[in-house]
Subunit: 257 residues, 2 copies
């Protein structure tokens, strides 16, 4: 099979931008960048010494690997538009299973999923970004590439990735919502939310070396009913927040037993 | 009033240990360390060149400031045991109001509340720990001391501190519980929870420069009903987690409108 030397990108968003630049910096040849919007294709192509393409029929067949980095709901339709079904192609999505490739006629395919939030203007250090790989049969090639970018490479099946995505909703989306509620409570009471930021940071750092349940703190895990009642009372004018407080507290109390 | 030069500690736990050492390092004279357990008193006293005391009647009256750093539910009873009501005394609790001092006969008092979780064996950098101060009338003295320890000094009333404590339950205790649920989902599905840790860290770091609602991501804020349904379905065997998923998702959907 040899190793991967040349790569083309289908898509020019945040993931394509950060990933293609990281691969380019590692010495991979980025051949083509496709986007339906030629300006977007050109903008990224220029950064990685690639050719910009805005017609999917013009994508060459010569690259060793094609990385499809488009929105989840555009993956299937884009795959159907690719004529050459013999290319080695991967997508970068956390929530779309590997079967999508078989269903759209490909035989040599995989997932190359960098698990991090990317912002257009914020540079990232790929070394600390977990990359989850899976492949129909050339998994070693993907692992080789991933190892050149990151210290955190994992083989993750589609079924596991589905669960990882679900877990990430709790760990990241929901914890961010907890930050929002906290900020809202501060704003409503003329308290500076900045006071809480070091504690938020420390809470997130603590779990790098401990299981979360080992470092759980607060009135619920202490079983401090007096404080819990006082908090529920303080939230009596916001039934939404009160409901969240009650449900999570009940679950922490249950988990203690 | 002059400035504070000598300080005595009542209590020898994590807060007393870290705070007395930080003050000692800044050149304050730590006169006495009281603990009902003489071994605990001796252990800390030795670190800060202080005298160990295990009988509260033996606490001197000569220190410029007394810092009461005991568990919340021991604050009132300890205050009642102190004979000299003319000392300048502060407690270090986030949830006990300033009125406790008046109720126990003191006239010169305040709060000196470092808002961070302390672990016995983990050293801390006080410069990045917010310190919330409040005082009956010598607030400036407390601010001066706090400024010598930390870059993050805030004047916070008891009423505000109550709200801050409530907000911290959401931002820290509840987000930690979200990490726990995420780890539990990973464990149950043979997925390595470490894969999520960089994303958790980045989620917490993102809010240092952005409002949480501005960086909210995930299926709920995208209104992605297909993924939400799939997640609820995957949680059908754990009604507790399913209930949390549904409630927080509903709240994020509501907040969008």
């Amino acid at each position: 099979l040899g190793s991967i030397k040349s790569i083309s990108f289908i898509g020019s968003g945040n993931v394509a931008t950060h990933l293609s630049q990281a691969l380019h910096n590692q010495g991979f040849i980025i051949e083509q960048v496709f986007s339906r919007n030629i300006d977007h294709a050109l903008e990224l192509a220029e950064k990685v010494d690639a050719l910009a393409v805005d017609n999917i029929a013009n994508i060459n067949s010569s690259s060793d690997l094609y990385i499809l980095a488009v929105k989840d709901d555009a993956i299937e339709s884009t795959l159907r538009l690719i004529n050459d079904k013999n290319i080695f192609i991967v997508h970068t999505s956390g929530s779309i299973g590997i079967d999508i490739f078989k269903e759209t006629g490909f035989s040599d395919y995989g997932i190359f999923y960098p698990l991090q939030t990317f912002s257009k203007n914020k540079s990232v250090d790929f070394l600390e970004i977990p990359i989850c790989v899976e492949a129909s049969y050339e998994e070693k090639l993907l692992i080789d590439i991933a190892n050149q970018l990151s210290n955190l490479v994992y083989q993750v099946s589609s079924e596991q990735r589905k669960k990882l995505h679900l877990a990430a909703v709790f760990a990241c989306n929901f914890s961010n919502y907890m930050y929002h509620v906290a900020e809202d409570i501060c704003l409503q009471n003329d308290v500076n939310f900045n006071i809480l930021k070091p504690l938020i940071k420390e809470t997130a750092q603590k779990i790098s070396l401990n299981h979360p349940h080992e470092v759980q703190t607060g009135p619920a895990v202490r079983g401090d009913q007096k404080i819990i009642e006082s908090h529920l009372d303080q939230l009596s004018e916001n039934k939404n927040y009160q409901g969240i407080y009650r449900l999570i507290t009940d679950n922490i109390l249950k988990a203690k037993k």
